[in-house]
């Protein structure tokens, strides 16, 4: 594989981890978040700072996950007070505050960011292999969560959190758990991104980034892990595939987003469900 293909593949992997994190929070547990990129950023900055200080990747990535999960726990606690659109906007606010703090903090590189992170000792190919391996594990983990009691709890909360509470589901605990796991995954993705870019700069974790992750999850169909993975892959590859369209690339991107959701509101997951139903139809 050429370096170009490798770089694309690893970007796809990072985005899948990132999007699956949001999938858990917004798709499975129904808590739409417009601030996911902030946790991505927390992970990336944690990794960048630790890697610059000489710590190995075996330590930086778990630390990134932990830091993002802690941030996720705090935001999750706040978000317990608000619901639906207010929750979305509260998470958006959290994203802007994260960005504001990072930009103003010289210890975090301020506007300039952090650069000069060394590739892990096993080299670029090894890094890509590690990252893809972890991506597969994350996918398996998410599939597992969905089938577990945890997943049922999430779906119950997503369906109707008042009703869920009435039948004895502690929706606060479930929401917090979803936030922690989802943001930990975002932190992991951020950690990989820091190595991938060999540095971090604040603007990569802004509102636009949060929106594009949400697009991946929604386009995939909120309920479908496969849909989420495919949508993420498509959206990540889109700039590459559309290179020929150059000037019209973002326009096409917007149009695709618009048209897909306008005419296929259940996302790609809905398409699969439709296909399955058709297959099963005659019987």
């Amino acid at each position: 594989m050429s370096a170009y293909v490798l770089s694309i593949v690893s970007l796809v992997g990072i985005n899948i981890i990132l999007a699956l994190g949001l999938h858990l929070i917004s798709g499975l547990c129904g808590q739409v978040s417009l601030g996911h990129a902030a946790f991505y950023g927390v992970g990336a900055y944690t990794t960048a700072l630790l890697a610059k200080a000489g710590y190995p990747i075996g330590l930086t990535l778990p630390a990134a996950m932990a830091a993002a999960a802690v941030a996720g726990f705090v935001v999750g606690l706040c978000s317990l007070r608000v619901r639906e659109d207010f929750l979305a906007i509260a998470t958006m606010a959290a994203g802007f505050i994260f960005l504001g703090v990072v930009k103003q903090n010289e210890a975090l590189g301020g506007e300039i960011g952090i650069s000069g992170i060394a590739m892990p000792s096993f080299g670029r190919d090894g890094f890509v292999a590690l990252e893809l391996g972890v991506t597969v594990l994350v996918i398996l983990f998410c599939l597992h969560v969905r089938r577990s009691w945890l997943g049922f709890g999430f779906s119950a909360v997503a369906d109707d959190d008042v009703a869920a509470q009435m039948v004895g589901v502690d929706n606060r605990a479930y929401k917090l758990t979803a936030f922690c796991i989802g943001t930990a995954l975002a932190g992991l993705a951020g950690g990989f991104l820091a190595y991938y870019l060999r540095g971090v700069s604040p603007d990569a974790f802004g509102f636009t980034a949060s929106i594009s992750v949400l697009c991946m999850v929604v386009l995939g169909g909120m309920q479908s892990i496969a849909g989420c993975i495919i949508a993420t892959t498509i959206l990540t590859l889109m700039p590459e595939v559309l290179r020929f369209a150059d000037n019209y690339k973002l326009l096409i991107f917007g149009a695709l987003l618009f048209l897909t959701m306008r005419f296929l509101p259940d996302g790609l997951g809905g398409l699969f469900a439709l296909a399955r139903r058709k297959e099963a139809g005659p019987s």
Binding site: S2, A3, Y4, L6, S7, I8, L11, I14, K103, G110, E111, I112, G113, S115, G116, R124, L193, Y196, L197, R198, G199, S201, D203, A204, P239, E240, R243, D246, N247, K249, L250
Partner: protein, 385 residues
């Protein structure tokens, strides 16, 4: 492993080339130069201007015989102003077998691409990205745009020595450019015996500066120095004047677009900047560039376009001087650059940061006009580490 193999191949190629020089002279296969910038998204204004400039430089070079007889082929990719797009773009350029690359991308994408090119040993000429760490990626990275810190020092000299201001207010745009300019300027304030009475910061998205201006009125400065871009500086300056503050307004090259004057209108009169290009266009080279660019683009070149053009000039000269497409040879030739470009005489220091002087421009009669030059090789020496 790969890089060692490639290096061996290059050495072999170089040996082959040196032995078969007459044959190489007949070589008409194009030399590929890569180019990336934000051509869509928020970076598009600078990116498109730079693209026009670099294409212009390549056309002109091809008319003048290309690289020692071989035509130049420009490979252009859009990084959308995003760092995560820049890494695949860099790898794709490498896959396209470019011999060197020009970046007119902003800091974040350029910073992400620089290590990729460094590891592939592909000379990388950075036109406008000002993030200080970019050249620290390694010895294949060169920067034609002056670092913010250096431009800040040039601004300090302009304020203290030329405009004789004693107390100034500093308005810093929250980007790496703004922050580094502010650091350079504040660092040199004592040397040029003026005081920064207050520093304000604002975001690139801001267009309404009322509260800041209200507060500046209280500070009663002799001069306002504001880093920013034409789209912030234009509204800022007209609002400052509308509020009745009539002290000199000084800024950096990022205002050099004629849009700045268009936006600020009459208020722009007398605004002074440390520029990258001498607007009087005294040398035939500059004059020709102005005319050719304006014909192609429909507007006058500003900082991004000029620096991208200069980067192309530097790279093409380097390729010609290297007499081969071996990366080491190109790097060596670039490091030895000492030439006159549209942005003046320039050379690189040990960190491959550019050393050059700053023409000063002033708005008069609705046009940027030449207003002297800040020349001080010691003051304007870029950092070496």
């Amino acid at each position: 492993m790969v890089s060692i193999k490639r290096r061996l191949l290059f050495i072999a190629a170089a040996i082959f080339a040196s032995h078969a020089l007459p044959a190489a002279a007949q070589d008409k296969t194009p030399v590929k130069i890569g180019f990336h910038a934000g051509l869509t998204g928020p970076a598009a204004a600078d990116g498109l201007s730079a693209e026009i400039a670099v294409k212009l430089a390549v056309e002109e070079a091809n008319k003048a015989g290309g690289i020692n007889g071989r035509p130049i082929e420009l490979v252009v990719y859009d990084d959308q102003g995003k760092p995560d797009q820049a890494v695949p773009v860099a790898n794709k350029l490498i896959g396209d077998k470019v011999v060197a690359v020009i970046s007119a991308g902003f800091s974040a994408p350029t910073k992400a691409a620089a290590p990729v090119f460094q590891e592939a040993h592909i000379p990388y000429v950075v036109a406008i990205a000002l993030q200080p760490d970019i050249t620290k990626s390694g010895d294949y990275v060169f920067r034609v745009g002056s670092m913010g810190e250096v431009e800040g020092r040039a601004g300090a000299k302009l304020i203290g020595d030329v405009l004789k201001a004693k107390s100034i207010v500093l308005l810093t745009i929250k980007t790496d450019f703004g922050k580094t300019v502010a650091a350079g300027l504040k660092g040199a304030a004592d040397k040029f015996s003026f005081k920064v009475v207050k520093e304000y910061e604002y975001s690139p998205g801001d267009r309404q500066f009322g509260p800041m201006i209200a507060s500046i009125k209280e500070d009663k400065p002799d001069l306002i120095y504001a880093s920013g871009f034409y789209f912030t500086g234009g509204p800022l300056l007209s609002q400052i004047r509308a509020a009745g503050i009539n002290v000199p307004f000084v800024g950096a090259q990022s205002y050099s677009s004629s849009k700045f004057i268009e936006i600020a209108g009459a208020a722009s009169d007398g605004a002074i900047i440390t520029n990258v290009i001498d607007w009087s266009g005294k040398t035939p080279q500059e004059k020709a560039f102005f005319e050719a660019f304006e014909k192609k683009a429909g507007f006058r070149p500003e900082a991004a376009g000029s620096q991208a053009y200069a980067s192309a000039e530097v790279l093409i000269a380097g390729l010609r001087a290297a007499k081969s497409i071996d990366s080491v040879a190109i790097r060596t030739a670039l490091a030895a650059t000492k030439m006159h470009t549209v942005v003046g005489d320039l050379s690189f220091n040990s960190l491959h940061e550019v050393q050059r002087s700053f023409p000063v421009s002033i708005v008069k009669d609705g046009k940027w006009q030449s207003h002297g030059v800040i020349e001080d090789p010691v003051l304007l020496a870029p950092p070496t580490q």
